[in-house]
Amino acid sequence: MAATEIGGVTRRSMLGAGAAVLAAPALAQTGSGAQAGASGGTTMPVTLKVNGKARQLNLDPRTTLLDALREHLHLTGSKKGCDHGQCGACTIIVDGRRINACLTLAVMHEGDEIVTIEGLGTPEKLHPMQRAFVTHDGYQCGYCTPGQICSAVAMLDEIEAGIPSHVTTDLDKVSYSDHEVRERMSGNICRCAAYSNIVAAIRDVAKANAA
């Protein structure tokens, strides 16, 4: 995508974001600041590597990574649930690690490798974790699902890397179990409570990876 097109998208979504801010009573007083171009009247350039592509943006430094992805790059797979790091719906993978995209600023990720649900797989070529969630019905409404899947993919990598968890009996012997999955996925809430099917989906992928 050409830089000018990205710029156009940015301006449009900035207006959209401004309207959204004004619509929220608690934040109304920041609306004018946002439109006047906060942070000393300037935006900041930042280049994010999203799903393998370098994307240049000019952002108000207040823009969270989640809002940069959703509102500026129109990658709306990552969801905004609580916007406070409590629900995990915004989970993405940055430099190989799962994080809450809502609790980090986009300008803090210059050059970072970012993978969102759109980068894991496509409807034509699903990632094995996506396929497993479909097979096991690991959702009902689906709102938490992109975060669950990104989290699950990176979580299995954490087990593979020998990173222990709260339920690991011997800190030096890290291995897959459903018990480990339940603990390690506690940062992803599913209000539909599809948890047992989510664990089944993750178990399938873990087994396939081990085979």
């Binding site: 942070s39 980090t104 989290s151």
Partner: protein, 318 residues
């Protein structure tokens, strides 16, 4: 969020100087607590200094046989470090009991120490809070106080420090290494790092304006049996109602630190002295002078029972 300007730090001394020179400047590292509070306009910095470019993310041995942990070492990496697992298991356990996998991947060692209380009235800007607005009053004293502090409190504030990591750091007698705005360095014992509220609950640490934490240093390993036991309302991803960090020596001596009961990681020398007398004696010593509300008085019993469970776990260890 209120508007702010943003810069990327180039050296610890530069960052400290920049922070000292501008009223309203704050450092940002993981951002998991600061951005949370900025969205609620509880924190309203006018300038953010991103310290992530400083690469203070190494864990290195010290000449005294300890470990120097860079301020930016992520909670996940600290908990998983081989040396920490082997020699400071109580620290690994404490870290792993905190937050979620996503947050531990982002949260830093220094940021964890500096995180602010989760007192519901601190978070509720419609209620008075002496931490948020000095002199405003404390809504927690007569409010929902079940999860608030019983030790070290004042009539201005009964907030708890929420960290698990800091409890283990306190147990291990870590020191906090800082750089000041003039480039000078100093180290503070973690015992002196967090302030009790007294009449100034808004002053939470001993850091001077602009001072930047660059590392946290652990003394040489204690050996012994390391246990961190956390009691909470959910099985995972919840703050402690109470927690106990303990290291037991072979001869039955022990040391203890407590989370969820005080405005700072709580440790009492008399409690360590009582180790050989068992859980009740340790609890009595640790909780001498407790000030409770109707809702949180149960934490006294819970500390005793959690200590009993810690002793049982220690006895069951090979």
């Amino acid at each position: 969020m209120r508007p702010f300007t943003f810069e990327r730090a180039t050296s610890p001394a530069q960052a400290a100087q920049a922070a000292a020179s501008l009223q309203g400047a704050r450092f940002i590292a993981g951002g998991t607590n600061l951005l949370d509070l900025m969205k609620l306009q509880i924190e309203t910095p006018t300038h953010l200094i991103d310290v992530n470019p400083l690469k203070l993310d190494r864990i290195e041995p010290t000449k005294d046989g300890g470990l120097r942990i860079g301020a930016l070492v992520r909670n996940t990496d600290l908990a998983a470090d081989k040396r920490v697992r082997r020699d400071y298991a109580v620290l690994s356990r404490a870290l792993l009991s905190g937050a979620s996998g996503q947050l531990r991947n982002k949260a830093t060692t220094a940021g964890n120490l500096l995180q602010r209380t989760r007192c519901p009235y601190f978070y509720d800007t419609t209620k008075p809070c002496n931490k948020r607005s000095p002199g405003a009053g404390c809504a927690a004293l007569e409010g929902f106080s079940r999860n608030l502090a019983i030790m070290g409190v004042s009539d201005a504030c009964i907030a708890t420090h929420p960290s698990d990591m800091a409890v283990a750091m306190r147990l291990l007698d870590a020191t906090v290494d800082v750089v000041g705005s003039d480039g000078s360095e100093r180290s503070l014992p973690i015992a002196d790092f967090h302030h009790l509220p007294g009449s100034t609950p808004h002053i939470e640490t001993a850091l001077a304006r602009g001072e930047l934490i660059v590392s946290v240093t652990l003394p040489k390993p204690l050996g012994g049996t390391h246990i961190y036991r956390k009691v909470r309302d959910r099985a995972s991803y919840a703050f402690a109602v109470v927690s106990v960090a303990a290291v037991f020596g072979k001869d039955g001596d022990g040391r203890f630190a407590f989370g969820g009961i005080a405005p700072k990681p709580w440790r009492v020398a008399f409690a360590d002295d009582a180790a050989k007398q068992g859980a009740k004696a340790v609890a009595d010593a640790a909780l001498a002078g407790a000030v409770t509300t109707r809702e949180n008085a149960f934490k006294q019993d819970l500390i005793g029972r959690t200590l009993a469970a810690v002793y049982a776990e220690q006895e069951a260890r090979p």
